[in-house]
Symmetry: C2
Subunit: 143 residues, 2 copies
């Protein structure tokens, strides 16, 4: 992070003083082609704003947790699972992930999906489905 | 607000189930041509995400407060004052407003300025400068 008051966007979803991070530790959970950037992490704010980018054809981990996610798409197109339904996503769409609700984000085959995700600074760790249960949980994404 | 998990953007900075509100009560503070929409206000999240839109030539109130603002531009162009400096703003730029720091957002003459603003749910009320002090505080915006 940086102490700069204004951090300019470079036109390609990178920002002054904001590092592009691994989404998660490799091998810790299934995912494909996702990066993470922490845009705001002010200790006096009770929430953090992160930017996740899923490359074309990539997807985030299928997971659930007690903490809620508030999501806004700011780049590209894709699809999300929230609970037992899937939705197409485009720029500026809003997604609310309630507590303990399975969710996953997929980029379109030919476009990235970039989204802001607002979370409380204090939050629980995600839970993963068993490999046997995962296909049924994510089935609505295939419809 | 709405219980919908996914709220689609209509292509013109309005969202399903999100009301366009007055920025502030008329006469409560000086401002010009600003609207407010509350995008996320989940009681289990400690912060709210709002969308403010300043019409071409408009401006927000010059003010300061203890709570911090985390801002991301998502539409148009403009200029902001934070403390004793001003910056040009374009889409996806990030602005941090520290505690008790004078700040103001102006749209460009020919374009709106639309921005997300992240704040704690619990926050203090803004303070205004005296009419005599305001011109000196906002002077960097004229450079």
């Amino acid at each position: 992070m940086t102490d700069k008051l204004v951090r300019k966007h470079d036109g390609a979803f990178h920002w002054e003083g904001v590092e592009v991070l691994a989404y998660k530790q490799e091998g810790s959970a299934p995912f494909k082609d996702v990066t993470r950037q922490v845009l705001f992490d002010d200790p006096s704010l009770a929430a953090q704003l992160r930017y996740f980018e899923v490359a074309p054809g990539g997807w985030t981990t299928l997971e659930r947790h007690e903490h809620v996610h508030n999501v806004m798409v700011i780049r590209g197109r894709g699809r999300c699972l929230v609970g037992d339904r899937a939705w197409d996503l485009a720029r500026n769409d809003l997604v609310s992930v309630p507590p303990m609700t399975w969710h996953q984000f997929h980029a379109a085959p030919d476009e990235p999906l970039g989204f802001l995700c607002l979370v409380n600074r204090e939050r629980d760790r995600p839970q993963l489905p068993s490999p046997a249960d995962a296909p049924a949980i994510s089935a609505p994404l295939d419809d």
